[in-house]
Subunit: 401 residues, 2 copies
């Protein structure tokens, strides 16, 4: 990718519209036989492949399996190594919590400790979400502020919660307090950089106050904090690419990621048909629409080939609703692969389809991993997807004279 | 490739095993007709191509012809520009001499000089190896140490020898003493950096002592030194990749290169069948095995098409012995191409075959340069081979959340 400052100078605002449809975890491997994308009946996607162009994109670089954060950030045109997103920030995004610049967020686990503070259960017996809510309410009523820093607590699910410290001069470079072992005390939130000393002192004071509040509890009388992080300083897409971007994502983590790059969050539904209808009903004000379909990924995580195939067919059936909007550019791709065989994210490159009147057509005839191998876009890092989308939407000026 | 520190944090030690089989100089061009790899009968490699995936790797970057050092170093996962290996170091490796950190090694040529020290033969009439050994013995008995620096002399072959300076505060940035012309005196080993002044003085003193010792000789009364170098500070593979690597290489230079990255050196034989048998008999303790076959390269250097084809067929016939070991990942590739037409190393990319249960199969049906063009791995820098091997062996954690 060319240097950000030069790229920025080439971007121009136009009326043309881009749709980036991310089928999360789309790519698969199917060592023998066909992948879900190959086996699914996808007449619409196949037509787009014939009239558009295909390729394979590496989320980060060959062999590297990305988390959802870096996988999406690179699709949005941000170098995933330069802009790293900490776990605490992602967890807060995952419950739609709107972080502010300078916040320090961490993931929390309620835990059980013995009389001497030694951890006996790192998940407090996986207490119910309702129990978690009761504890968070109790903590909130007792702790509001520590040394002038606002403390915000939010239930996630079961034993998991998020804590956000909001105040001046905080730095998220703190060591986790989880000893990752039983029979030992939780660790101190040590500063990992001199700038994080104040944050360390605040978190330490918070922990000791909170443990007092939890003292009467049987199961959840302690907790562990991990993944301290400050929201990355991501220049918004409006500034970097001169776009007016919007996101339709039914899952909070993806809304959170979209929010981090300055997208407007639009209401949507979980099904492909529902989200495409939501796109159609809100079409017009923005010029970049990120539409996220989660279920390809969750099917892959479950190793459920049939379900993954079915979601792809659902997307295909519903796709005419998107095509009727006549976006100047439509990209259909994954953020990372989630092969059913591996039941998790993988390093395999993403099938990538780009449909636009300005495309150099290739000889591919269907949208599949193997046809993408011989697609006209070749194999490229996912961070190049943004220049490709902007170019095909005629939103980029010439470089040099 | 992602930054080394991040990559390092993703590596994990597992029981899965990787075999990297390097057929030195494998790639060829055969402008008309077929390359040796295309013409050879290789049923086993072709099956692996069908069940695995192919690609093309550039040893350094397009158009750059590498020496054996950078070509192997990049296959081992080290940036070849960052970790340069001087000629003196390679020459020492080539005779199995074990360099220590801080040593300065150089290649030496015995030469003939006239009464006024002007070089009249830069190779001393290509004296025999026995003659060389006699001269080295004479020099050793007279020169052991210069200014507290140990001087170690080793015969290589014919007129060639290696000299190693071992002591405190030496720096290998010295100009060669070879004037690359006849009728002129040899040059001074000038320091090319201020830090190399001590080394320069030591080498200068060594040269004048050695020339005194050689004065009675008729042919080899002088010598020229080239390629002064210090062993590069290569972090071992165990540290960078959490591997327990081993090498089976019949030629000393490749053992030397393997040693530089911390591989354990296992006894082996020169033929493909012999080296695969050696691999089988020592299988188990390590999780990364580099197996080197030299004769593809030497056949290419000789322009001997038939011999190159025959070696490839020998490898293919013997390959079942490797497959029976069931490594989780098997890569078959070259370090660089050595086209018979060019009789030397070239810049052409390496045919690359990756076989693993976790592969995204492509549509290729045989292992050949031209099928590699349309392989699923695309075209990539050879330094990415290591992330790809580690990923397919499930030895890499996810990057980011």
């Amino acid at each position: 990718m060319i240097p950000q400052e030069i790229f920025k100078s080439l971007c121009r605002s136009t009326d043309s519209k881009i749709v980036l449809l991310v089928l999360d975890g789309l790519g698969d491997i199917a060592a023998e036989g066909r992948t879900p994308l190959e086996a699914a009946a996808t007449p619409n996607l196949d037509r787009l492949a014939r009239e558009g162009t295909l390729g394979l994109s590496d989320p980060i670089s060959p062999g590297i399996t990305p988390g959802s954060g870096p996988a999406h950030i690179s699709l949005f045109g941000y170098e995933p190594i330069k802009y790293q997103i900490g776990r605490g920030v992602l967890e807060a995004s995952g419950i739609d919590f709107q972080l502010e610049p300078g916040d320090v967020a961490a993931r929390g686990n309620f835990a059980t400790a013995d009389g001497e503070g030694r951890i006996t259960d790192r998940r407090a017996g996986r207490i119910s979400t309702e129990e978690n809510q009761r504890l968070i309410t109790a903590l909130r009523s007792e702790i509001d502020e520590i040394e002038g820093v606002k403390v915000i607590l939010e239930t996630v699910k079961e034993h998991r919660f998020v804590v956000v410290f909001r105040g001046e001069g905080l730095d998220g470079r703190l060591a986790e307090t989880d000893p990752q072992a039983l029979g030992v005390k939780s660790l101190e939130p040590r500063p990992l950089a001199p700038e994080a000393e104040r944050a360390s002192a605040v978190v330490k004071a918070f922990i000791s106050r909170a443990v007092e509040v939890l003292a009467p509890e049987k199961q959840a009388n302690s907790f562990l904090l991990r993944g301290f992080a400050t929201p990355p300083d991501l220049p918004p897409m409006s500034e970097l690419f001169r776009l007016r971007p919007a996101a339709l994502a039914a899952y909070p983590m993806y809304r959170g990621l979209a929010r981090l790059v300055g997208m407007r969050i639009l209401p949507t539904e979980e099904t492909p048909a529902g989200s495409f209808a939501a796109l159609a009903s809100q079409w017009g004000e923005n010029d970049f629409y990120f539409v996220h379909v989660k279920k390809t990924d969750s099917s892959g995580e479950d190793g459920d080939y049939a379900s993954k195939l079915k979601v792809i067919e659902e997307v295909d059936r519903a796709l005419p609703a998107v095509l009727e909007l006549k976006p100047e550019v439509l990209v259909v791709t994954g953020d990372h692969s989630t092969p059913c065989r591996l039941k998790g994210h993988s390093w395999h490159p993403n099938p990538f389809l780009l449909y636009s009147a300005n495309v150099l057509r290739d000889e591919t005839t269907a949208f599949s991993e193997r046809q993408c191998v011989r697609g006209g876009l070749g194999r490229f890092p996912a961070v190049e997807a943004m220049p490709l989308m902007l170019a095909h939407a005629l939103k980029l000026d010439k470089f040099g004279a």
